[in-house]
């Protein structure tokens, strides 16, 4: 387990450095930068000699490698430099914007997971086939509606129409609900889609039939077999949807006028504010890496076989086995159902 964790941490650090360096190079390769844009803007009216003063002040007259090394050295000291359009320290700008975005994405993630769970379960266990099919079509619907449309509709009905929620962020929890639901819908769509098919697949597995043959009811089978087995792909996707969250936050924050990382990014992109963008890339990468690290660390908890020798077999093809067995069985035995019944079968459902 320790090597596994160390390896994952090493990878995470490497990903961070690579993202920082790559974004630095890419952003530098773009034509123009924030200061040059300011100088060229007709509004600025800056003469070429005066432009030199600005470029020197911001250190943009130095060679690229020197700028990169300075930035990297600063980064190790926790200093991300100053914004070229705002003049404030990047750490401060991100510090003010981050709490709002974390609240939004955190709540959206919770909503997303709840939506996915409800849809996944309803689509598989609802009493009528018509209802099941109807619910199963929701993910495709919400997956194809752009976030900003959902957001604008929300505003139209709940804010301008019913005056239930403020149209722009006023710091209250109520103001957070609508954007969080909007963003939650965005990430719930793929999660729900995967979850419901995953449940469907797992329910078709032989070991579930055996459970039923032993007299377990649906609820018991779901709790003891289906849930755990069908949650692995969802977990993987959850790590990936972190990226969706960050991207979706940009649009959602613009629609609901929330001062967060998303709005900061839009501003920084449009003015090519390199230090701020670098900071945002860094924060996004940290978030992404952290979430995926957590997901990686959660795998073995759900599926102990992952730690055995690094060879993970296809999820959903497996048979329940006690985690304690230290060896992997031969392939021809793998298909044979393990007929041992889980503990604590209620007495009344044992054989007549």
């Amino acid at each position: 387990m320790r090597t596994y964790i160390l390896k994952r941490f090493g990878q995470a650090a490497l990903v961070l450095w690579a993202a920082y360096t790559l974004s630095f190079l890419l952003l530098s390769a773009l034509p123009g930068d924030a200061v040059t844009n300011r100088i060229q803007n007709p509004e600025a009216q800056i003469s070429p000699e005066q432009a030199e003063v600005l470029l020197q002040y911001y250190g943009l007259d130095r060679p690229l490698w020197e700028q990169y090394l300075t930035a990297l050295a600063g980064l190790l000291h926790g200093d991300l430099g100053y914004s070229l359009t705002d003049g404030r320290a990047v750490t401060e700008l991100i510090g003010t914007a981050l709490p709002s975005t974390l609240a939004l994405t955190g709540l959206a993630l919770a909503f997303g997971v709840v939506f996915a769970l409800v849809i996944g379960i309803l689509a598989n266990y609802a009493p009528w086939k018509g209802l099941r099919d109807f619910v199963a079509s929701w993910p495709a619907l919400f997956g194809s509606i752009p976030t900003f449309v959902v957001g604008i509709l929300f505003l139209q009905f709940f804010s301008f129409g019913l005056h239930l929620i403020p149209a722009s962020d006023d710091g209250s929890f109520v103001a957070l609900l609508a954007p969080a639901i909007t963003l939650g819908l965005l990430i719930a769509a793929p999660l729900a889609q995967v979850f419901l098919t995953s449940i469907r697949d797992t329910r078709g597995q032989p070991f579930i039939h055996v459970l039923h043959a032993r007299g377990a009811d649906e609820r018991y089978a779901f709790r003891r077999g289906v849930l755990r087995n069908s949650s692995m792909p969802v977990l993987t996707l959850l790590g990936l949807s972190c990226g969706e969250l960050i991207a979706g936050a940009v649009v959602t924050e613009a629609v609901f006028a929330r001062p967060g990382i998303g709005q900061l990014t839009v501003g920084a992109v449009s003015t090519q504010d390199l230090p701020v963008l670098q900071g945002v890339v860094l924060v996004a990468t940290v978030a992404y890496v952290t979430v995926n690290l957590l997901v990686d660390l959660a795998y073995p908890v759900i599926d102990p076989r992952i730690l055995l020798d690094g060879s993970v077999r296809r999820i959903g093809r497996r048979v329940r086995r006690p985690a304690a067995t230290g060896t992997v069985r031969d392939r021809e035995h793998a298909a044979m159902p393990d007929l041992r019944v889980a503990r604590r079968i209620p007495v009344e459902v044992s054989m007549p």
Binding site: N41, P42, E43, S47, Y57, G87, A97, S168, Q263, S270
Partner: protein, 552 residues
């Protein structure tokens, strides 16, 4: 005007405005009948003190240093910092503000100001001659060590002498009839406190460090998207033209960036915001239908036009006849009808309605399709197979880039495209992002026309734009010497009537050569809730909340 792209991301935009050396009359001529700019909202009933006003603006805030910022920031900071001289937005007259009186030497090279006594900055320090000198020196000379650039408004600045605590003499190397206007203008002459001026560019760009003499002070700054100002209770030196004296009415003003146009209009209706800036023409009816008021303010200075750029010898617009034809093919009334609103005046001059001493050039700006076609025929451009004119195998096709600074750019250009098409001229429209736009401006070889304007409530704004030693928008080589001479002449003309004639001569030259194709008069449209009273702006549409109050 900041444009908004509600479709995808909303880009922070900048207002293309400059206020360079401009020229007005040092001695006020009350005979001036300039009006229209800086309209204000007529208050009803007795002013009420107190309350919070919320103001929604589409653009995110940038760094705050006035000489190195964007126009939309000044919606906030114009209420924090003041000038020695106040310009009446309605009449163009100058009145005392932080200076109680001033004198100009006979050679127009020395301006002596007597400061108002008892004026204090928000940190409690006194306004004195030394602080004024410090401000002007930073503008006139810049400060390399602090990263402060020299301010182009202050060309020909020779220095400021402190005579005594309340008296300063500002000296120029060359006379400039527009210098008083510069001293009245937010960007070029706001008087800020000593502690702020000692900071470097980043320090001066942080609004929380600001120390001014204005009726409001900064209470809090929220990232790049929000600012809260609170009233200063010991304020008592409002400009002479104000509706009241003493402190302001409002307790607080909350400024907030709300990029989405629909959200701003909706918030106005629901009472969440009391003022929203940049109401799009198509949203105007929604505002009035919801019980709100519209306050259109002409932004004094140049009209929003297509300015010819002549740096490429291969440009079909090198031919004056072609330029005159395009002028005649442009139907400004139809543009206004189609995509603007009656709040946007139709251009009849190179300057916006309300700008002092503006000329009358309506005779150059008539729509006349027959004239356009015959001019193009005579110039050798014949209609080709698809109706677009051709000469020597070259199509008469012009690439226009939508200027990212204005809200209505794209729709205006689309209407223009159909108008020019009738004369057999093709327009190709692209909308590059702000940075792409600015990069292409430097490098593209098919940049024949530039959309935009420069704003100052002063006719010498034309010199700022067209002067070959200034912005040189024409990029003509060799430069148009006659135009340059006319532009310089009006700067040294201190007699009002003569100066008006000099401005008309400049306009005659500009339109005689068809250097500029005006599209519409640059206008700021504010949406006001019905309970907002006495909201005004200075001459180029910057908010001034001193007289504003909220009725119960």
């Amino acid at each position: 005007m900041p444009n908004e792209k509600g479709r995808t991301l909303v880009f922070a935009t900048r207002f293309r405005r400059t206020m360079l050396s401009s020229a007005t009359v040092a001695v006020i001529a009350t005979a001036l009948t300039a009006c229209g700019g800086g309209a204000s909202d007529q208050p009803v009933g007795d002013p009420v003190s107190g309350g919070t006003l919320t103001f929604y603006d589409p653009v995110e805030y940038n760094a705050w240093k006035p000489t190195n910022s964007i126009w939309s920031n000044s919606q906030v900071s114009n209420n924090l910092a003041e000038r020695l001289i106040w310009q009446d937005p309605k009449t163009g007259e100058y009145r005392p503000w932080l200076a109680e009186s001033y004198q100009v030497s006979d050679d127009h090279l020395a301006y002596t100001f007597k400061l108002k006594p008892g004026v204090t900055f928000s940190d409690g320090t006194l306004l004195n001659a030394e602080v004024v000198k410090l401000n002007f020196d930073q503008h006139g000379f810049g400060n390399e060590k602090l990263g402060i650039t020299q301010d182009p408004f202050w060309t020909d600045y020779a220095g400021t002498d402190v005579v005594d605590d309340q008296t300063v003499v500002v000296r120029l190397a060359k006379p400039n009839a527009g210098f008083i206007q510069i001293l009245s203008n937010y960007r070029a002459s706001s008087i800020l406190g000593k502690s702020l001026l000692e900071k470097d560019l980043n320090g001066q760009s942080d609004l929380r460090n600001w120390v001014g003499t204005g009726p409001f002070v900064v209470e809090s700054v929220n990232g790049t998207t929000g600012v809260t100002l609170k009233r200063r209770d010991d304020y008592n030196w409002a400009p002479d033209g104000s509706a009241h004296t003493g402190k302001a009415y409002l307790d607080r003003i909350v400024f907030k960036t709300v990029p989405e146009a629909g959200t701003r209009v909706g918030a106005l209706q629901s009472g969440e915001a009391q003022i929203a800036r940049n109401i799009a023409p198509y949203d105007e009816e929604t505002v009035t239908a919801g019980g709100g008021k519209l306050l259109p303010i002409s932004v004094q200075g140049e009209t929003n036009d297509l300015t010819v750029r002549l740096d490429n010898p291969a440009s079909p617009l090198q031919d004056k006849q072609v330029r005159l034809a395009l002028q005649a093919a442009t139907d400004r009334a139809a543009i206004n009808e189609a995509v603007l609103s009656p709040n946007y005046p139709i251009p009849t001059s190179a300057l916006v309605k309300g700008t002092p001493l503006r000329g009358d050039s309506s005779k150059y700006l008539n729509h006349d399709l027959a004239k356009a076609t015959s001019l193009l025929d005579a110039a050798g451009w014949r209609p080709g197979a698809d109706g677009i004119r051709v000469e020597d195998g070259k199509r008469l096709s012009i690439h226009l880039r939508v200027a990212p600074y204005y809200q209505v750019s794209q729709s205006v250009l689309e209407v223009l495209r159909s108008q020019w098409r009738e004369a057999g001229v093709e327009i190709k429209i692209t909308s590059p992002s702000l940075t792409e736009y600015e990069a292409q401006e430097q490098t593209a070889d098919d940049w024949f026309l530039t959309q935009g304007q420069t704003s100052t409530a002063e006719p010498s704004v034309l010199r700022t734009s067209y002067g070959s030693d200034r912005q040189d928008v024409l990029e003509k080589s060799p430069a148009d010497a006659q135009l340059d001479a006319l532009l310089a002449a009006q700067s040294y003309e201190f007699d009002t009537a003569k100066r008006k004639a000099a401005i008309q001569a400049v306009e005659d030259r500009i339109f005689g050569e068809a250097y500029s194709i005006p599209l519409y008069d640059e206008t700021q449209v504010f949406g006001l809730a019905s309970n907002v009273q006495g909201f005004t702006t200075e001459s180029t549409g910057r908010s001034w909340f001193y007289d504003t109050w909220i009725s119960g």
